[in-house]
Amino acid sequence: MTCQECEVLLGNGEDAREHLASCAECRMLAEDLRLNAAALREMRVRPVRWPWPVAAAAAVVMAIGIWRTAPDPQTALVAGKGDRSLLPSPPPRSLAADLKAGQSLRPVKERRHVGAAEPLKVKMLTSDPDVVIYWIVDRKEGTE
């Protein structure tokens, strides 16, 4: 068996023991393939379930942050573009950090128009599809 043939076998995850016994280069490749396979598996994005206390704490911290900064209600508006406005909540930019940290909980502001005196609703999605946390912040007129 040539090294080229051995590469094909190893790439397919097949046995090339005989050749490996006599070829250090291919042994190295086999080891690299094994380590890469493990690393690639770890590169998969997996949702991580957050415990309830952490989710609740995150909701409280967010709500306090929103309350203190008292943003203009316009900041809660998201202008839709054509059909995109029909989407409830497209994948947010914050997921970039999530992918690195392996987190699954993230805050999503409701993407719909709200009146000046209407309460601001913060929606917290969790990895459990049956669990959604809503945080409603009452807003008084004239605070903006």
Partner: protein, 158 residues
């Protein structure tokens, strides 16, 4: 609408993760993921049963379109480090992942897609073949070539 929201919630990370691995840039992946869910919304009446294979297929198509619009990726050898060091060097898993992510960008579109679906997403060869609309033997060949290329890429730079 509830059906759509649920699908989005369940598959959002999968779509974004695949798009990120295929495109290599989070900003592009987010745009691609948005495009995927826009298509899902537009075709919501036509999709029956498990939407996952459909989402994989559309994610791959959207990312491939993206690559074509953006032009070919850089030749891996152009950015190659000095390959003088042939010694077996132990690298950390983080370094390996970083090099693999770089190596994925250097692969051809088909090989990259096949390995992302097979080795990262953990789909079977049959599932990958069905999603890509090609023969299982072709998928096996693409994956074999891609794995060896990735291994050589990582070794060269570690």
């Amino acid at each position: 609408m509830a059906w759509f929201e649920r699908l989005m919630r369940v598959h959002e990370r999968m779509v974004l993760g695949v798009a990120y691995r295929l495109l290599g840039r989070m900003e592009d992946a987010q745009d691609a993921a948005q495009e995927v869910f826009l298509r899902l919304f537009q075709k919501r009446d036509q999709i029956q049963g498990d939407a996952k294979p459909w989402l994989y297929r559309v994610t791959v198509n959207v990312c491939n379109d993206w690559h074509r619009k953006r032009g070919p990726t850089a030749d891996p050898d152009e950015n190659a480090a000095d390959p003088a060091n042939d010694a077996l060097t132990a690298i950390t898993i983080q370094d390996r992942k970083r090099l693999l992510a770089e190596g994925l960008k250097a692969l051809g579109e088909r090989e990259r897609t096949a390995i992302v679906l097979r080795d990262i997403e953990g789909l079977s060869t049959r599932e990958v073949a069905r999603i890509l609309g090609i023969e299982e033997a072709t998928v096996r060949s693409q994956i074999s070539v891609a794995r060896v290329k990735l291994a050589k890429y990582v070794r060269k730079r570690s």
